[in-house]
C-alpha cells in the first residue's frame, strides 16, 4: 500500500517538474517583459510534435531532446522579432488577444502538419524498463525525467543568479528603463528571454512526449495549468514556480487515483483563492 503512494508521489514529482519547466518560462517572460503569453501552451504542443518527428526520422531521442527545444526557441525568437516586439507597449488585454490568436494559429497549423489524431512516441531504448528496489519497481524514464529536469532547474538557477545575463534579467524585472539607461540593449535581452522562456515550454513538451504522446488540443490545458502554477507560486518568481509546480504535480497525482475531476476542480479553486487572498502568491513580491 505504501508503495502505491510512493509511486504516485514520484509520478507527481515528475509531473511537477514538467509543470515547473512550463511555468518558469511563463513567469520569466512575465517578470522581465511584463508580457502575458497566452500562446505558451501552444509551444509545449510544438515541442511534443517536434519530438515525434525527430524521433521518427532519426530514431534518436537524445537528438530530439536537444534539437526540439532549440527549434521551439528559434521559432519563438522569430515570432518575437516579427510580431511580439510590436505589442509590448500595449495593455495586457491586447497582448492576451494577440497571443490567443497565435495559439490558435499554431494549433491549427500543427493539425495541418501532423494530423488531428494524437501521436505516441516510444520511450528511448536506453531508458526502457524499470528500476527495482526491494519489491518496489519504478520506470527508468520517469526517474530520468525527474533527474534531468532537476538538472535543468539548477542550470537555470545558476544562469539567473550567477551570470551577467541573469543579473540583467533580474535588473530588468525591477526596472527595464534603468537597465536600458545603463547601456544594455534591452530589446536583445527581451528577445533572448522570450526565446528562452518559450524554449523551456518546448523542452517540457519534448520530455513529456514519451509518457503522454503529442495531442493537438493539449495547448489550452497546459496553459491553464501553467497559470495555476504561476499564480500560486507568485508571478515572476523562480522559486515560486518550482515549489508550486511540485505541489500541484504531487496533489494532482495523488488525487488522480481517488477523484480525477476533483483534482482539477481543487487546483483551479486554489488558484482563485490565491488571487483573492494573496495575489502575489507564495513567493511573489508584494
Amino acid at each position: 500500500m505504501l508503495n502505491v503512494y510512493l509511486f504516485q508521489i514520484l509520478n507527481g514529482l515528475g509531473l511537477g517538474m514538467i509543470y515547473f519547466l512550463i511555468s518558469v518560462g511563463l513567469t520569466l517572460i512575465f517578470g522581465l517583459l511584463n508580457f502575458v503569453n497566452f500562446a505558451h501552451g501552444a509551444f509545449f504542443l510544438v515541442g511534443s510534435y517536434l519530438c515525434y518527428t525527430l524521433v521518427s526520422l532519426t530514431g534518436n531521442f537524445w537528438l530530439a531532446l536537444i534539437a526540439g527545444p532549440l527549434l521551439v526557441a528559434l521559432l519563438a525568437w522569430a515570432l518575437e522579432r516579427s510580431l511580439i516586439q510590436r505589442i509590448y507597449h500595449l495593455p495586457h488585454t491586447f497582448q492576451i488577444l494577440v497571443t490567443l490568436g497565435i495559439a490558435l494559429i499554431i494549433q491549427e497549423l500543427s493539425i495541418m502538419i501532423w494530423g488531428p489524431v494524437g501521436k505516441s512516441i516510444p520511450t528511448p531504448e536506453a531508458l526502457q524498463g524499470v528500476v527495482r528496489i526491494g519489491n518496489f519497481a519504478y520506470p527508468y524514464y520517469r526517474l530520468f525525467l525527474i533527474g534531468f529536469s532537476a538538472l535543468v532547474a539548477v542550470v537555470l538557477w545558476l544562469l539567473l543568479e550567477r551570470t551577467r545575463f541573469g543579473a540583467l534579467v533580474r535588473a530588468g524585472s525591477e526596472s527595464t528603463e534603468m537597465v536600458s539607461l545603463l547601456g544594455s540593449n534591452i530589446f536583445r535581452l527581451f528577445s533572448i528571454t522570450f526565446a528562452l522562456g518559450v524554449g523551456l515550454a518546448g523542452l517540457a513538451g519534448v520530455l513529456s512526449a514519451p509518457l503522454r504522446g503529442a495531442h493537438p488540443f493539449i495547448g489550452p490545458e497546459v496553459l491553464g495549468l501553467a497559470f495555476v502554477v504561476v499564480v500560486i507560486g507568485g508571478m515572476g518568481s523562480f522559486t515560486g514556480a518550482l515549489v508550486a509546480g511540485l505541489i500541484v504535480g504531487v496533489v494532482q497525482s495523488l488525487m488522480t487515483s481517488l477523484w480525477p475531476q476533483g483534482a482539477s476542480l481543487m487546483i483551479y479553486a486554489a488558484m482563485a483563492v490565491v488571487i483573492l487572498l494573496r495575489p502575489h502568491g507564495l513567493f511573489g513580491r508584494a
Binding site: 488585454t93 494577440v98 490567443l100 490558435l104 494549433q107 491549427e108 489550452p220 491553464g224 476542480l265 482563485a272
Partner: protein, 344 residues
C-alpha cells in the same frame, strides 16, 4: 498608439452627433437583417445560431467594449443557462417562458457572484480569476455527470411551445418559428442594450473603461457599476445559452468550456468592441464562415487567429469600425475616421 483601451466609439462632438444618426440607422439595419437572414441563408437554423451567438457577443461587448473588462467567464453563464433551463424543462416540466426566465435569473445570480469576486482584482489578476472560475465551472459540470450527462452532454432537451395551461398558442417545432422567437428576443435585447449604453449609466461605463480612477474620483461607485454590468451581461448570456440548448435539443459539455468564452470573445472583437451592431456582424461572420468552411477546410479556425491578430494590431474597431469609417467617408463627415476608429 496611445490608446489604453479597446477604443472604437471615441467621444469627440462630431463623432457623437454622427453616432446618434448611426445609432438609429443601425437599429433599422438590425431589424432589416433580422427579416432578411432566414430568407438569404440556406436554413433558418443557421440564422438562429447566428442570432444566439450575436446575443452572447453583445453581452460580452457590454463587459469588454463598454466597461473594458476582458472576462473569460462568459462560458459559465452560457453553459449554466443552457444546463439549468434544460434541467428545469426535463425535471420540473417548466414551459418555455418558465425555462427562459429561470435561465436569465440564474445567469444574473451567477454573474452577481462571479462579478463580485472578480472585480476585487484588476488587470491581469482579474483575467486570471475569470479563467480560474470558468475552469472550475467546467470541471464541476464534468463531475456532476448525473445531472449534466458529463462528456456525453445533456440529451433530449425539449423545445416547448408557448402555452397557457394545456393549450398551445405557438409551437416552435419548425425552425422558422423558433427563428422568429429568437429574433424577437434578440431585437428586444438589442433595443434595451442600446437604450442602456446611450443612457448616463452607459456613459459612466465608458468613463470606467477610459479611466477608472478618474471615474471613481468623480464620485461614481465604479465597483457597483461593474457588478451591475456583470449581472446584465450574465443574464443575457444565460438566455443565449438556454436558447442554444433548445435549438440543438442537446447541451454539450463544450458549452461551459473555456473555449466557448474564447469563441464569444473572438466574435465580439472581430465584430467590433464597443459596437452592439458589431457583435451581430462578428457573430454572423464567424458562424457563417464556420458553416461554409468547416466541411471543405476543417482548419478554418486558422483564419480566426489571423483575423484576431490583425484586428488588435491594425483595425481596433473590427468589422464595424471598418464599415462605419467607410460610411463616414462616403457621407463626407468632417471627423477623421482613421484616427477615431483606433488606427492611431
Amino acid at each position: 498608439m496611445t490608446t489604453k483601451t479597446l477604443d472604437t466609439v471615441a467621444a469627440s462632438p462630431g463623432r457623437r452627433r454622427f453616432k446618434g444618426r448611426l445609432g438609429a440607422g443601425t437599429t433599422l439595419a438590425m431589424l432589416a437583417v433580422m427579416v432578411l437572414l432566414p430568407l438569404v441563408l440556406p436554413s433558418a437554423t443557421l440564422a438562429t445560431e447566428i442570432l444566439i451567438f450575436a446575443m452572447a457577443a453583445l453581452a460580452c461587448n457590454l463587459l469588454l467594449g463598454f466597461t473594458g473588462l476582458l472576462s473569460f467567464g462568459q462560458a459559465i453563464f452560457f453553459g449554466a443557462g443552457a444546463y439549468i433551463s434544460a434541467l428545469a424543462m426535463i425535471h420540473l416540466n417548466a414551459g418555455l417562458i418558465g425555462a427562459l426566465l429561470i435561465a436569465v435569473v440564474s445567469g444574473c445570480v451567477l454573474a452577481l457572484g462571479v462579478g463580485m469576486l472578480c472585480i476585487r482584482r484588476k488587470g491581469i489578476y482579474f483575467v486570471m480569476l475569470t479563467l480560474a472560475l470558468t475552469q472550475m465551472a467546467y470541471f464541476l459540470a464534468y463531475t456532476l455527470s448525473d445531472w449534466t450527462g458529463g462528456d456525453n452532454g445533456l440529451l433530449d432537451v425539449p423545445r416547448p411551445p408557448l402555452a397557457v395551461g394545456e393549450t398551445t398558442l405557438i409551437s416552435f417545432a419548425s425552425p422558422l418559428a423558433f427563428y422568429a422567437l429568437v429574433a424577437s428576443l434578440f431585437a428586444l435585447i438589442y433595443v434595451v442594450a442600446r437604450r442602456i449604453t446611450d443612457s448616463p449609466f452607459g456613459s459612466t461605463l465608458l468613463a470606467i473603461r477610459e479611466n477608472e480612477q478618474r471615474a471613481s474620483a468623480l464620485g461614481y461607485d465604479t465597483r457597483l457599476f461593474k457588478i451591475m454590468v456583470f449581472v446584465l451581461s450574465g443574464g443575457i448570456t444565460a438566455l443565449a445559452g438556454a436558447l442554444y440548448g433548445m435549438l440543438l435539443n442537446f447541451v454539450p459539455l463544450s458549452n461551459i468550456e473555456l473555449l466557448m468564452s474564447e469563441q464569444i470573445l473572438i466574435m465580439t472583437i472581430i465584430g467590433g468592441t464597443g459596437s452592439l451592431f458589431g457583435s451581430l456582424l462578428g457573430a454572423g461572420a464567424i458562424v457563417l464562415l464556420g458553416d461554409l468552411l468547416s466541411s471543405i477546410w476543417p482548419r478554418w479556425m486558422l483564419l480566426l487567429g489571423v483575423a484576431l491578430i490583425a484586428v488588435v494590431i491594425f483595425m481596433r474597431g473590427g468589422l464595424w469600425g471598418g464599415l462605419s469609417s467607410l460610411l463616414e467617408r462616403r457621407r463626407g463627415s468632417h471627423t477623421k475616421p482613421h484616427k477615431e476608429a483606433g488606427h492611431d
